[in-house]
């Protein structure tokens, strides 16, 4: 059905293009002087149909499921939901019944509801096609009536295109608002169940405790401090390993390497940045963590199976090219005159780098490191696979710790009920993550920009 709707609106708009263009050309052939080229008359018809019809169709597809679900749920017999703790489970059961997946023997009212849902789906699909058809026909007539010698079709087309482009650039803003709004909305619901002070200052994180929605979260179970501490430990490990390696390789590439080595080495380093993080996660659990454990055992140091060192170390590998390319850019951006001046005074290359270039490049490097920190905090797959699940108040990198992102994913994996504090806690964590990384990013970009202005 969706395909039919799109085919319909595409053919209608193409038809509008041809009809209007031909009408405009016919006017010209009759000796009238057109303001715009025939093509623009055609394009005007095309856009006049395409834009509203596509918007309507997409909105319809996005909203129809929600409407159908509400209609189905509201038409359930009275009392059917009364003894159900969770209407969302009922809804998902009806949905799977409607798709023909029957488990066991469902109650008759559920089967009825599933049938009604299917009816509503079919009706909605037909209604959508009908609406698209009617809309296209009306707009085709409207645009056809506007074809006239004096009609400024090009200006009209350009206005529509400009409007479209402005809308496109607004999407980025809308997405940001969507993120902030959805996170804040769900977090507020969370903080109605768990006080904000408990969340921020509690030292115990045991979110799995409230299983059913009617249970109230045990006091102190949603204290975010140990989770934050875990994130800090892993981030610290990652940064402590990646910054020296990244900086050193940037210095070597920038100052000592000949052009051929640089041409080979830089893309290989970039490869490390292009590897998906799920691959790093697998590498951490398959190779790095067992190796660390074996070394620990050989030295007599107890190392947890999912030690923070494994997750942080592998994350460091991922961050090396990031830091190295930022540092490389920062070193290259130092004006040539500084470098030449140092060399002319007789400084060796290493003295030039360490005493002249490096201090001058510090703001850019710091900006890059800050961005790396924000990536390390927000990095998900490596820690989900290689870090622990249990929040502990510890600073020991050999121990197993958990992070904000790990908790978000484990709380939301599988079926989610939007009325339990367990699910909503993930959104509160997400909000904190968003605020912290946003703050770091803005700071980093500001430092980088400020530094650039000094020399340009």
């Amino acid at each position: 059905m969706t395909g039919l709707a799109f085919a319909l609106l595409l053919s209608a708009s193409l038809a509008a293009y041809m009809i209007n263009r031909r009408a405009a050309l016919a006017l010209r052939d009759r000796g009238e002087r057109l303001h715009s080229l025939g093509m623009f008359h055609g394009l005007y018809g095309l856009l006049l149909i395409l834009v509203p019809a596509v918007v309507v169709t997409i909105l319809w597809i996005m909203l129809q499921n929600g409407v159908i679900n509400t209609l189905t749920m509201s038409s359930l017999p009275d009392g059917a939901l009364a003894d159900m703790a969770n209407p969302q489970l009922v809804l998902s059961e009806i949905q799977s019944l409607a798709q023909g997946r029957v488990f066991g023997t469902p109650e008759p009212w559920k089967l009825e509801a599933a049938e009604r849902m299917n009816d509503l789906r079919a009706n909605s699909a037909w209604l959508m096609v009908a609406v698209v058809a009617a809309l296209s026909a009306i707009l085709l007539l409207v645009s056809r009536r506007q074809v006239a010698a004096a009609f400024r079709a090009r200006q009209a087309v350009e206005r529509i295109v400009m409007g479209l482009m402005i809308t496109c650039s607004l999407v980025a803003v809308i997405v940001t608002f969507g993120i902030v709004f959805s996170l804040v909305f769900e977090s507020i619901r969370f903080f109605q169940m768990v006080p904000l002070t408990e969340f921020l200052f509690g030292t115990r994180w045991e979110p799995q405790m409230p299983i059913r929605a009617d249970q109230i979260a045990a006091e102190g179970a949603f204290g975010v401090l140990p989770v934050f501490l875990g994130t800090l430990v892993i981030t610290f490990v990652a940064i402590a390993i990646s910054v020296p390696i990244g900086l050193m390789s940037a210095i070597y590439l920038n100052e000592f390497a000949d052009r051929r080595f640089r041409a080979v080495a830089k893309p290989i380093l970039e490869l490390l940045a292009g590897i998906p993080t799920v691959v790093y996660g697998f590498f951490a659990i398959l190779t790095v963590a067992p190796a660390l454990r074996a070394w620990g055992a050989a030295l007599g140091i107890p190392v947890a199976p999912n030690t923070a060192l494994a997750a942080g170390g592998v994350m460091a590998i991922m961050l090396i090219p990031f830091i190295s390319s930022f540092a490389d850019d920062a070193l290259s951006a130092v004006p040539r005159s500084l470098r030449d001046g140092a060399i002319a005074l007789g400084a060796t290359r290493s003295e030039t780098v360490l005493n002249v270039l490096f201090p001058a490049a510090i703001p850019g490097i710091v900006g890059g490191v800050l961005l790396a920190v924000s990536r390390a905090i927000g990095e998900t797959m490596i820690v989900v696979m290689a870090a622990g699940l249990i929040a502990k108040m510890t600073l020991n990198p050999l121990d197993s710790v958990t992070t904000v992102t790990v908790q978000i994913v484990t709380l939301l994996i599988g079926d989610t009920a939007f009325d339990s504090p367990k699910t909503l806690a993930a959104f509160a964590l997400g909000l904190m993550l968003f605020i912290v990384t946003l703050f770091i990013n803005i700071l980093a970009l500001r430092i980088v920009r400020k530094y650039r202005e000094q020399y340009d």
């Binding site: 650039s169 020296p244 070597y252 290359r349 998900t380 994996i413 939007f418 997400g430």
Partner: protein, 430 residues
Amino acid sequence: MTDLPNQRSKPAPTWSSDEFKGRLARRHRKEAGLKFLGLAAIMLAFLMLGILLWTLISGGAQAFRQTHVTLDVPVSAEMVDAADPAGGNYRGVIAEAMQATFPEAPQERMRALSGIVSNAAQFVLRDRIVEDPSLIGQTIQIRVPVSDVYDQLKKGNVDELSDESTRRLSDADIAAFRQLEAEGRITLPFNWALFTQADSRFPELAGLKGAIIGSAYALLVCFLISFPLGIGAAIYLEEFAPKTRFSDIIEVNINNLAAVPSVVFGLLGLAVFLNWFGMQRSAPFVGGLVLALMTLPTIIIATRAALKAVPPSIREAALGVGASKQQVVFGHVLPLAMPGILTGTIIGLAQALGETAPLLLIGMNAFVTSAPSTPFDASTALPTQIFIWADSPERGFVARTSAAILVLLGFLVLMNALAIYLRSKFERRW
């Protein structure tokens, strides 16, 4: 000032003095030290990359081949009714075939011997018979996968010398398998099932078809949404937007959006697309939507850079012959910037292909045993399939995870190679 020879009153330390030489040597040592440290850092990074790739290749290579056993299967009419071939007792047929293969084996060993053949054998046989019911009553030869433990045995991952109680296969099991090998029934062909089958609970049957198609749908949706939106936004911001507070806000916004952690986009998708709009869980369409929002900033930034690289003389020339501003952009600047835009888009899509966390949150880690036929069916994607398999305890899934990663990396290399080709082929330096 030029001719003043031998006018020094006291001998200054010259470059040849011991003190001077010592200092110079120290400085040179420091230089060499820094150089060595830099090279060591780079080599360390290379070493890590090497270990990573080596782990994946050595672990994943095995999964590209799959041990098969060839069986003579007597399809008797008692077991399979010619009127209803799909409803036959194929498990029994396979058991009979094993009995025929090991005629001297005692009855109580038969259960263990049937375990050599994968659980899929009965379905392979069923499909064969349903396709051609005239085979009922005959003895036919089929080649089916062996189950995972025997696959591991064939690939040399079972230590036969270890204590019998510590391994899953008894000595008798291994002897039976060796007998089949001696009879030439065991083969190790290329594992096409990895690409033609969807996920399964049994490692010897699990394939990537569902994940590849799911990823393809998600990327298609991602491209269809983010490409036009990104280009539209970039053109407006680069060519038309007046320098106002409003356009400044949009710019800052896009830069920040590019650095938002991917898991946050997953939260957005879960709250907005699944919870508020009631869209289908685990659907590649929703995955594509979320990925599109993530890719959008990348495409906008790449497009703006490509537009900026077109020299102003092109614009001025077009304006000079009377084109409107939009005609200049769409008729001249955009086509010239297209190679750069496409390169940026492909790189953005390659990033989206490897993205896992947001897909996990919208449920694309579901266990689905059939490939999706539309973008609205439940499905996995390549990275989430890797995540699922990495979590599975069976030995066979370890190799399969590496193989899946190699497939994913293969796609990434292809996309990046395409981007590099486009750049080198069409890029113009002005």
